[in-house]
Symmetry: D2
Subunit: 104 residues, 4 copies
């Protein structure tokens, strides 16, 4: 089962800057061979359910090991069985509709 995920992991009680933790997670996701795309409030991930979930668990383990005693993560998980759809497809469909807008 393929899944498109949006991951937002928050190490609590950490230094104000979260960048080092997020960078560590990006490395884990990339090394897992997943398609990822960082945005301003999380990371889009595309892959097989078990591979994605194993990588998210590895992120929690790593961020705790980096010193964060407590983590709160928000995940959105999309699955569909009617057709295959990539992260690119989702964005492109919307952008195509918007490109048809009459310029005023």
């Amino acid at each position: 089962m393929n899944v498109i995920v949006d991951l937002c992991l928050i190490p609590m009680n950490a230094e104000t800057s979260l960048s080092p933790y997020i960078a560590a997670c990006q490395r884990i996701l990339k090394e897992a061979g997943l398609s990822i795309r960082l945005h301003a409030y999380g990371t889009n991930i595309e892959g097989e359910w078990d591979a994605v979930m194993a990588a998210i668990k590895a992120c929690h383990v790593k961020v705790h090991a980096m010193g964060a005693p407590r983590i709160s993560t928000t995940i959105k998980l999309g699955t569909r069985v009617d057709k295959a759809q990539s992260m690119d497809d989702k964005v492109t469909h919307v952008e195509t509709l918007l490109s048809d807008d009459t310029v005023v």
Copy 2:
């Protein structure tokens, strides 16, 4: 690694009533032996990471099998390594603080 989760699974393109889907997921979570508590916008779950995640995957599989072509799920995942904390602890701590409020 123990985790406290909040699960909100939304079968899209379904009948307006989601109750049958949610009830099916409740059965899966209970049969997995997890501690769960239904609320008005999701279900709190407490258990070992892999057991919780396997049950959430089983929910997706089941809801697709019930006829939903597309599912969008939102999950919050809390882990901590400084101390053990149950779902009950979390609620009780806040309620204790509120019970000290002066009644007006």
Copy 3:
């Protein structure tokens, strides 16, 4: 427009215990006259859209004033125009289905 909300506000860089912050938010929500119910990973809120949103903003202002430099909040927002539905209705519908389960 009526809305059922699930609110989970996380003060980052705070002491490990979030209870005082959550208790402060509970007081704000109650004083706003909203129906609320605390659970292990957030608070269910029911009310008129603008009243609920004003209270959530007041929570952010208060938690910053209590010393948290940075807050990350997750909100789920449900609206429907086909019929009125309360938080109680949502839970009761599912529990009714489950109560019909054959006891094994």
Copy 4:
């Protein structure tokens, strides 16, 4: 109070394709003069709290008017009082850290 938001609005009981609804919301957000960026599982928005929230409410009103009887939206809301931070800053900080990685 400035806020960085991640918005994911799901019209339930809709046609399988959500693109027309999402495109309609993009137009509302743009016309509100907000900085926005579409990704594969939502839209990042940056702006003043009240302006952002008014636009999100307008999205719900519009999507109901387009025929969706029921909507479930997930929002992440980040505020901070220690310093100004844009959506670009958040992404750039992480990418800078990653660019230092030794290429293997």
